[in-house]
Symmetry: C2
Subunit: 418 residues, 2 copies
Amino acid sequence: MSENGIDRRKLLTAGVALGGAALAGRASAAEGDPAILEVKPWNQYLGPGVEAAPYGVPSPYESHVVRRDVAWLTASTESSVNFTPIHELDGIITPNGLCFERHHAGVAEIDPAEHRLMINGLVETPLVFTMADLMRFPRENRIYFLECAANSGMEWRGAQLNGCQYTHGMLHCVMYTGVKLSTLLEEAGLRSSAAWVLPEGADASLMTRSVPLEKAMDDCLVAFRMNGEALRPEQGYPLRLVVPGWEGNMWVKWLRRLEVGDKPWQQREETSKYTDLLTNGKARRFTWVMDVKSVITSPSPQKPVGHGPGPMVISGIAWSGNGRVTRVDVSIDGGRNWRSARIDGPSLSKALHRFYLDIDWDGSELFLQSRAMDEAGVVQPTKDVLRAARGDNSIYHNNGIQTWHIKSDGSAENVEIS
Amino acid sequence: MSENGIDRRKLLTAGVALGGAALAGRASAAEGDPAILEVKPWNQYLGPGVEAAPYGVPSPYESHVVRRDVAWLTASTESSVNFTPIHELDGIITPNGLCFERHHAGVAEIDPAEHRLMINGLVETPLVFTMADLMRFPRENRIYFLECAANSGMEWRGAQLNGCQYTHGMLHCVMYTGVKLSTLLEEAGLRSSAAWVLPEGADASLMTRSVPLEKAMDDCLVAFRMNGEALRPEQGYPLRLVVPGWEGNMWVKWLRRLEVGDKPWQQREETSKYTDLLTNGKARRFTWVMDVKSVITSPSPQKPVGHGPGPMVISGIAWSGNGRVTRVDVSIDGGRNWRSARIDGPSLSKALHRFYLDIDWDGSELFLQSRAMDEAGVVQPTKDVLRAARGDNSIYHNNGIQTWHIKSDGSAENVEIS
């Protein structure tokens, strides 16, 4: 294989030469034909006009690009998870229709005219805001990833699920628009004893989590838009809390109340759930930050190579709750040798980063891994290192290095190597 | 009115005080009620589960947020325009379902397995690529605006259409993923006489435009994804040309061929159309760059103020084909006085920029204008300046300053003032 980068002579054969001088072709090239010269139906008809789709939808040929759940994972679909098909996506933006969703009592269907946000507790003046009220405060726009703390959790004890949609798809990344939480808390006026904030959702699960005031006053947003338009119902329409870089469970959806207090509330979702039981019987708690992590999205089990030897694009995503990702290394031999991948596109704090390694595949089997590093200097660990530190009771916060076994036929499998 | 920025005391009354000490309220505050204490239906039921929407859609309460056409503008809906509802959006990303669309023979419904891209003309080796072939080349991800040269064209002779969706909605901004056009041209090998490229679409209109080689080799992309997922059918699925900062007509959709030549082809869309007839009988031609421009999206005729005097968010977008927008000024008195707006969110070359001016409205009528400046030092002109230079025959490239007349009741109207 060539060193990081592409052999230009070989790339040439990714297209089909039309000229008289035939190029030394690979299988994928030889299969081609000058079909461009054929008349296609769509060269000839008048297609649907602008009245067809006031709100557009994907091509019918993309009907396989959907969120998927895992039936055995939860007791009911109202308290379940729908995974983002990250193996089908590129860049760093997740389209709204494909964003990972996790509910505890199904999707609340809220009339925004009836929705209210209350701030109470240790404030000078308890307040209630309508949606219209909130639109009168200064706004911010930020691209952030959201990752569930349970993402990759099913892999804690070993390779389980054959596809990054399931192993890493509790994840999305959009541009949020909203009011800084600090602006609203300052509006109510914090009392001197204020130290924690409890966001509460308006759905039947009444989701609550304790957020330390330092984070609340730093970069949290009370968001009403994602990728420009209103939040989607399953993402908390009309209002959700955005807690950049921290576990998704804290990003309370259908946000209706912010209580200010002087200590954490010890709610179910921060005691029974979202804690990590260690081997000594103690539990890690308040492990809010989503650690630096990455995964190769293509090729992967749901996205096999699809061509023979020659130029291959290895594509993946990396992210860190600590800020920007500064470097991603890729190994094709299960971690023995590493090459620096190319991070392409905007590099924004607490947002997805897209990386590529363009290789010349010789057709032999590969053990693909990626390893991200962030601006805090943290390096993504192996799963073995994680287990050595935390035992094997954990579910949450598995940011270990993922391995895909790429076979000579281009198919791929979720494996673990030690 | 307070100087640029918000009077904190007045903002307080945007929420409803719950405490015993009533705040001096405004109308909008007094109308409020502590409805948060009422039980809402959605606090009690189990909502739809994750099986409900493999590909999600907006809330039914957002059904007014759609693309719209102008029936009298074109002879048929297959050769027409669907405008982005920019008055309903925030941030800089346009969701795919709301992206402006313009067709000349309706939407081609292409099977990607049957689609081919040919490169021919003044190249060493004519090539044909399948979609699978293209996926083997190095990719880029970039957020770019697309603006039709005819955007605001109906306003050339004066204020016509009452809403920025119609005056400025031939515009969208997404993250594109694709292969650099230069990569593909280099793959075919350019002959020494090569100077121009002709992209051609696969729909029945066979759209073609002449692109100078310098631009083709600079930042053009052959794109297959927008906002992470496959291009939408109405945006050229499975392949479109991205010509950053240049008029949207050149961003050929359903791209099937790239011919390399030594001079422009003088096609219909660069002779009869997309030229500007001046008063002296000559026409401006090859005016590809979309000049620096901005518009206030809220408040605007379709998005009235919706509240009484007090804190008001003025929000808008700015963009330039020359690169980054460096500054946006806003006037509330029809251009007599200007204040610097706050540009918020990523500032990327040839992408939308979001700006805000947070004011304390005294309830009197306003004449809102915005004026953008770009990194090339170009300042958005008045419409009078444009007309003085080009007469009033033009349709295309109207980047003049827009005025909204905001009345005391909060309603807004498209007006011109000299």
